[in-house]
Symmetry: C3
Subunit: 137 residues, 3 copies
């Protein structure tokens, strides 16, 4: 059983942003030499997300607009008594999920035709990390 | 470490439908001969879902009705400028999640008493796939 | 490849409650002796959740209040025709997710600075279980 671990760093210009990370994950799979297994990808900060969906900027804007309705920014969250102002970003991560397992078959990501992996930032303009751990044989 | 990979195909009659897939996953586990490990199950299309919940048709109807409120079909999604009409189905997948890991202990799925695995279709009437990858020893 | 499986039991005093389980998972990782791999943690009951977010009681109260808006308790769910009254708890589990994979690097959980793992109970005052399966080498 082999493991290959690496970290991606982000510092988005916008407070909320969706960033494609498919090619970074594919590089990690190639580097690992693993033919059968998984690439695990997880956001290490609790106001950001990793998810699999469509590479289509219109949809990314739909997702960000929709999240603002489902988990809106508001002044009166209890979390803000700590001095924080980002409770909505915590809730947005919960809606979107923060980690995925991408199966590897024959040395390649075994995804559907339109599946691509993304980093979702909901409290940006600061340094944040994603862990990639490829494992298998 | 052993791996056993197979694919399930779906082509639902309804546009939105919940389909039990527990027995297909149990078959894959038996075929694999794996005694200790996991069955990974993931929807390969970005408008469908895999999730674990109750085998109760009333609840399935509640889930589909609730999703229509949380992530409604609407004409004005930006994604629709591409000619697509299914942005809501992408959002429904994000709410529901698209993959699960089912633990295997002693050669059997190690689930709670009521846990069953389902395929959730939100843009049906077309051929779609789910990947099952059983791994362990 | 090694596996170490254990179960946590819960019986919360409140119907809805968030319970920190980070130290229980860290104990399981130490007991396993696994240096490189994952701790898989999953709620075995379909009205409860396992998730990773902030150790901050104000945020926990925000999460429970927000879930009541996103997936409200209501009398008229179809699921209630079975005699159950907890359809909202099923929906809350779907929003929050029910399982996580916690990466292990160098014998320790490889999490971000604020990531902690929690059990989310949405239909409590009864005995429920979480499975932890640590695997790797």
């Amino acid at each position: 059983m082999k493991f290959h671990t690496k970290y991606l760093w982000f510092n988005t210009k916008a407070e909320k942003e969706i960033v494609p990370i498919q090619s970074e994950v594919e590089s990690a799979v190639r580097e690992s030499g693993i033919k059968e297994g998984f690439a695990f990808v997880s956001a290490m900060h609790i106001t950001s997300s990793v998810f699999v969906n469509d590479h289509e900027p219109g949809l990314w804007s739909d997702i960000l607009g929709w999240l603002e309705q489902v988990a809106p920014a508001r002044a009166d969250y209890a979390h803000h008594k700590t001095g924080e102002t980002n409770a909505d970003a915590h809730l947005k991560r919960l809606v979107m999920g923060h980690q995925v397992m991408l199966p590897i078959t024959g040395g390649k990501l075994d995804l559907g035709p339109w599946e691509r992996v993304f980093y979702g930032e909901f409290d940006g303009k600061r340094r944040k990390r994603v862990i990639i751990k490829v494992f298998g044989e």
